[in-house]
Symmetry: C2
Subunit: 221 residues, 2 copies
DNA sequence: TTATGATGTTAAGCATGCTTAACTTTGTCT
DNA sequence: AGACAAAGTTAAGCATGCTTAACATCATAA
């Protein structure tokens, strides 16, 4: 059993790898976990020794099969807890991430299976991310593209939002940018790649950084 | 905020003090937490410095007001989780203790308040122990006596069971010794203070150690 | 192609929370 | 009282996971 720290490293590596398929760099993880690069280098060696990582100096990290298995367990716990907290206990979109972040390290397999059953074996969490099943398999996700890659002048519906930051979630919730809502992409500034969207008759400007977190599908008219 | 370790120390000290009102000894805690006496001595110094304990060498420990406040928080989290796991997720009497033991260290005040509300602000947990309220006040418990102090020839109803050991809980559940069931105390061996009880037409012998964990009220006939 | 800044790694050191081993205090039995 | 065992404490050392500071490698622009 990995420690809480190691679980966090493995989860973070999985998430980054999942974004672009590239080996994950030291700085990315350090930045995310709010520790120094040197902590990452050290831990990378340990995780590699324990068989969770393929790692060669200066070349970044990739999870092994064994590491991926652990990642699936953690994502399963995290995402089921998020859904449970919203559906059953009435927490809001922006509250659940931090709570799940803690609970995911304190939940036995048998408890998480009970929660899964209680929720009716859901396939997606409240942010549209797929929930790994008991067997470790990740449900197929609907085709989606980041808002940064969309064409000005088209309408899209929200399929998934990265739940990395709770302030962002609170903002998106406030303006009504939630799962399955529709938006119209009205403009993009090439200066900073910020975009302008129309959402329920209001207009908002979103930075590139924000737009990157939002995944949409083309609206079927 | 105390660490997980410190929370465990504070909780354990509270529980022992609650049993007999005496200053809690090093060995008792060491035995319960499965660490050596020296670990307890060290931690006692730290907790005293941080204001959670009154402690003078060789004399045992008592919680301060501040320590008691922390103890109430932890007990609240533990007992609400136990009830929630049984009532909502269908875990059994013997499974909940270990799960709650982990969850109690990973639950924010706001989440535990939501759980409290969901359960309708219950006063007692599944083992009959009082659940500290949001303001830190412990509900009054019904008058009860340990089975070790009962008179042979009388009938009693189960009011509370110490949930310290899950094997014990599984056994008690198996023989039907659960909250509010009735038993008849038919014998006590002065040799080892073991007792014989009648429960739903079956007869069982319980060691003194087991009897100490069971609290009853005289049956009103 | 080489200098330079960014990125990554190593080394030394620290806090936490544990261990074992040596030592101290306490309480009890005679 | 005083000796002896049980209980408690201290000291030294270890693993984990972090830090800062020094050093190594990489990537790219002149």
């Amino acid at each position: 059993m990995p420690t809480i720290s190691k679980e966090d490293y493995i989860k973070t590596i999985f998430n980054f790898h999942n974004e672009d398929g590239l080996p994950v760099t030291t700085s990315k993880i350090a930045n995310k976990l709010e520790v120094t690069n040197s902590a990452i280098s050290e831990m990378a060696k340990k995780l590699a020794m324990e068989g969770y990582l393929d790692y060669s100096k200066y070349k970044g990290m990739n999870l092994t099969r064994s590491g991926e298995k652990v990642a699936m367990q953690i994502l399963r716990r995290h995402r089921l807890w998020e859904l449970f907290l919203i559906e059953v206990l009435g927490l809001s979109w922006d509250e659940v991430h931090d709570e799940a972040e803690k609970l995911e390290h304190s939940t036995s397999d048998s408890l998480i299976d009970k929660i899964d059953e209680y929720l009716g074996f859901p396939k997606f969490d409240p942010h549209g991310s797929p929930i790994p099943q008991r067997n470790g398999i990740l449900p197929k996700i609907p085709k989606s593209i980041p808002l940064t890659d969309c064409e000005v002048g088209n309408s899209y519906s929200i399929v998934r939002v990265n739940d990395s930051d709770n302030e962002l979630m609170a903002y998106l919730l406030k303006i009504g940018l939630v799962l399955s809502s529709s938006l119209f992409l009205s403009d993009r500034l090439s200066f900073d790649n910020s975009i302008t969207i129309k959402l329920a008759d209001a207009t908002y400007s979103l930075s590139e950084k924000v737009a990157e977190q939002i995944f949409v599908a083309e609206e079927i008219l």
